[in-house]
């Protein structure tokens, strides 16, 4: 742990991947790697963040991301407070900025925010004195998800550079896709997006991803197959006619997976819709699925983010 203490992180907030450089990402991943190892030991509690206050401000329901951030903060010894929409004054009509000012007056050291509006963390970061971590904003970015995905890939494949990564499903509405496209491009991976024409922005190539509308083409010789969740409200005739049609053409099963490399790794940010975007047979196969490891790396990556963003002198 101590070897990295002198390292300063070049950013005050973690709002999106797009503004990070390869050096920043490697710094986060290296530190996260050490936290991942630490988390596997019996004595995992640290005191690096003792006396620091972390507020998790979740305007959108989330169990896994909130829990992951909470656990990360607690493992580092921070005082963690969870605020969710239901119990906040947002319901009483308070604006995001008013909420921010109120929280700021309590002198937190780090705010983790999730919001259904793209750009909400940016707005918040302009109004508070502490570090802000984007825990997912609208259809914009989910930077810690991309980092945990990168860490998972790096551990399994030994590198990111030169790998072919196919991101499949609802690209249009996915913040996970945007963060991953950005990160993988920065790190020199080849990115593809695969999905129905209604769910893949036709200009995705401008973001640095090759666009495919069939799994056979999109998965061809892929090293990594990253499946995205399809929201229920988009399945019934609005963007996609039905679950059975979506699964037939875009659900990941053994047959479609044959197009990828034989040692291809399957990932999913969760929560999964079994039988919609992914077949259980694949999701539960520990030899090819990294889905559990992604969750584990999530805590490690968030520990690294909290650590780096709260170091003195920031």
């Amino acid at each position: 742990m101590t070897s990295l203490d002198t390292n300063r992180f070049a950013h005050r907030h973690l709002l999106d991947i797009a503004r990070l450089g390869a050096g920043d990402i490697n710094q986060l991943l290296d530190l996260a790697e050490s936290y991942a190892n630490l988390s596997r030991t019996p004595d995992k509690k640290q005191s690096i963040l003792r006396g620091k206050t972390q507020i998790n401000l979740f305007f959108e329901n989330s169990t896994r991301t909130r829990t992951s951030f909470e656990l990360a903060g607690k493992r580092l010894g921070a005082d963690v407070i969870n605020m969710s929409v239901g119990s906040s004054s947002v319901k009483k009509g308070e604006t995001l900025i008013d909420t921010a000012m109120t929280l700021n007056a309590m002198h937190p050291d780090v705010l983790v925010i999730r919001h259904s509006d793209s750009g909400a963390p940016h707005l918040l970061s302009q109004k508070v004195d502490c570090a802000v971590i984007n825990g997912g904003d609208g259809s914009h970015e989910h930077p810690t998800q991309a980092l945990l995905d990168a860490l998972t890939i790096r551990r399994r494949k030994g590198r990111l550079e030169g790998l072919t990564v196919a991101i499949c499903g609802d690209i249009q509405h996915s913040r996970v896709a945007r963060s991953n496209i950005a990160l993988l491009n920065i790190m020199g991976a080849r990115v593809r997006v695969v999905g129905p024409t209604t769910l893949v922005p036709s200009n995705a190539n401008k973001l640095g991803a090759e666009v495919f509308y069939t799994m056979a083409e999109g998965l061809k010789d892929a090293d990594i197959v990253m499946m995205l969740r399809l929201q229920t409200e988009r399945m019934q005739g609005s963007f996609v006619p039905s679950i059975r049609e979506y699964f037939k053409f875009f659900g990941l099963d053994k047959e479609k997976l044959k197009h990828a490399k034989p040692d291809a790794l399957i990932m999913h940010p969760g929560p999964m819709n079994r039988g919609v975007e992914i077949d259980s047979e694949i999701a539960d196969d520990l030899n090819i699925s990294a889905i559990s490891e992604q969750v584990e790396m999530g805590v490690a990556v968030r520990m690294a983010c909290l650590d780096l963003l709260t170091r003195e002198g920031k």
Partner: protein
């Protein structure tokens, strides 16, 4: 292996290759073995059965891009057998059946059922257009992918326009993945709501709620922009107004993947037909005023309109024997599509090859069918017809189960003499 069969001494007309001249067609096992001027007595293989056509026109069978067969579910109006008989008598060898059956063809299982039933009961070929929205309700996109796998050639809500522009946008984008053409009823539904005839002097005089002609152009313009954005294949089933046709003209000049169709009643009739509140002249879109009818002919002449289809829509006598506004729209047309359209030839508006093009190659191309042309190896779907023979339409003697023709009593010139499907004669006058 059956013996070869030859149609000789015919006047060949093949719009695809723009061939016109004397010759014949040699058929074996239901397929065209060869065709051209060389097919005549003396050049044929031994044992060939020969039919002398006595100089009659011999062309590919017609492909009707838009018809309602009513089976399953509305058999009191039409069945595949009766529609098939009408088609054969009208020279139509392939019918593109719309999804407006009961239940609606929005499920792959139904596509299979209908295809199988057509093979056993219908004397002509049937291809199927799947629903664009589930239940033709205009709210949720149907399963284009599964329908395409089951064999549909296009998707359409038939007579119903899609009012929801977001739905249309997504449907167009989605259809592109399966290369399915989207066939639309181009009429802005809010503007057309409750209207029963075209806006104009007649409607005002008769006191009937009318539909302005711009209802067509507005929807066409809207969709053209969506086609521009999505790159999907889009076809307007039955255009009837000068405005909308001008929009199509511009879109084509722009190179967009749009095609347009019309029906015989839009180039042959105008809103005067509705006089005396004739419900058999109630169609959707409504019959237009004379200047629009002339614009339809103009658009056929310059190729803005690619396709003439029958828009065959059987209605029972009960649903037509009502006050005009309560009567159901629609006319039958399989049997009269060619004879009525031959008026354009007789009036020297359009040459015979160009006219046939709109009912053979053009619809076949839209629907991705290997039909509508004289081609070695293709199914021997052929018609023999006379352009001159005069006859009077008698609604009751037409072969459709429903008799709602708009041309009852009309004098027509030209008629199909014999129709072949897969080399077998299915109709002979």
């Amino acid at each position: 292996m059956t013996a070869p069969f030859a149609l000789t001494n015919a006047h060949l007309l093949d719009p695809a290759t723009r061939t016109e001249g004397s010759g014949g067609v040699l058929i074996k096992d239901g397929k065209i073995l060869d065709w051209g001027p060389e097919i005549k007595e003396g050049t044929l293989p031994d044992g060939t059965e020969v039919q002398d056509c006595n100089g009659l026109n011999l062309s590919p069978g017609l492909v009707d891009a838009h018809a309602y067969l009513c089976e399953p579910g509305k058999e009191h109006r039409e069945t595949m057998a009766t529609a098939g008989a009408a088609a054969a008598a009208g020279g139509v060898t392939t019918i593109n059946a719309m999804a407006a059956t009961e239940p609606v063809i929005d499920d792959p299982a139904l596509v299979e059922l209908v295809s199988r039933r057509a093979k056993t009961t219908c004397p002509v070929n049937i291809c199927i257009t799947g629903a664009l929205t589930k239940g033709l309700e205009g709210s949720e996109m149907a399963e284009f992918g599964l329908l395409a796998d089951a064999g549909v050639v296009a998707v359409s809500d038939g007579q119903f326009a899609i009012g929801n522009i977001n739905l249309m946008r997504r449907a167009l984008a989605y259809s592109k993945m399966f290369n399915l053409p989207v066939i639309v009823h181009a009429e802005e539904p809010n503007l057309a709501a409750g209207g029963v005839m075209t806006g104009g002097q007649m409607a005002t005089l008769m006191g009937l709620k009318s539909i302005p002609t711009c209802a067509e152009a507005i929807l066409v313009e809207r969709d053209i922009r969506l086609v521009e954005m999505t790159g999907a294949r889009w076809h307007a089933a039955h255009l009837s107004t000068a405005d909308a046709l001008n929009s199509i003209r511009r879109a084509k000049a722009q190179g967009l993947s749009v095609t347009a169709g019309t029906a015989p009643h839009y180039h042959a009739l105008n809103d005067l037909e509705v006089g005396e509140y004739r419900t058999f002249a109630r169609v959707s879109p409504p019959l237009r005023q004379e200047e629009d009818r002339l614009a339809v002919i103009e658009a056929l002449k310059d190729g803005t309109i690619d396709i003439i289809s029958s828009q065959h829509l059987p209605q029972s006598a009960d649903s037509k024997r009502l006050p005009f506004a309560q009567a159901k729209p629609g006319v039958i047309g399989l049997e009269t599509m060619l004879p009525v359209s031959l008026r354009l030839f007789h009036n020297k508006d359009i040459g015979l090859l160009d006219l046939l093009h709109t009912m053979t190659v053009a619809p076949a191309k839209l629907l991705g069918l290997d039909a509508g042309q004289l081609k070695k190896g293709a199914a021997a779907d052929l018609i023999l017809f006379d352009t001159e023979i005069p006859w009077q339409v008698d609604g009751d003697s037409l072969k459709s189960k429903s008799k709602n023709t708009a041309f009852d009593g009309h004098l027509l010139q030209g008629r199909v003499k014999e129709t072949f499907v897969g080399g077998a004669s299915v109709f002979k006058l």
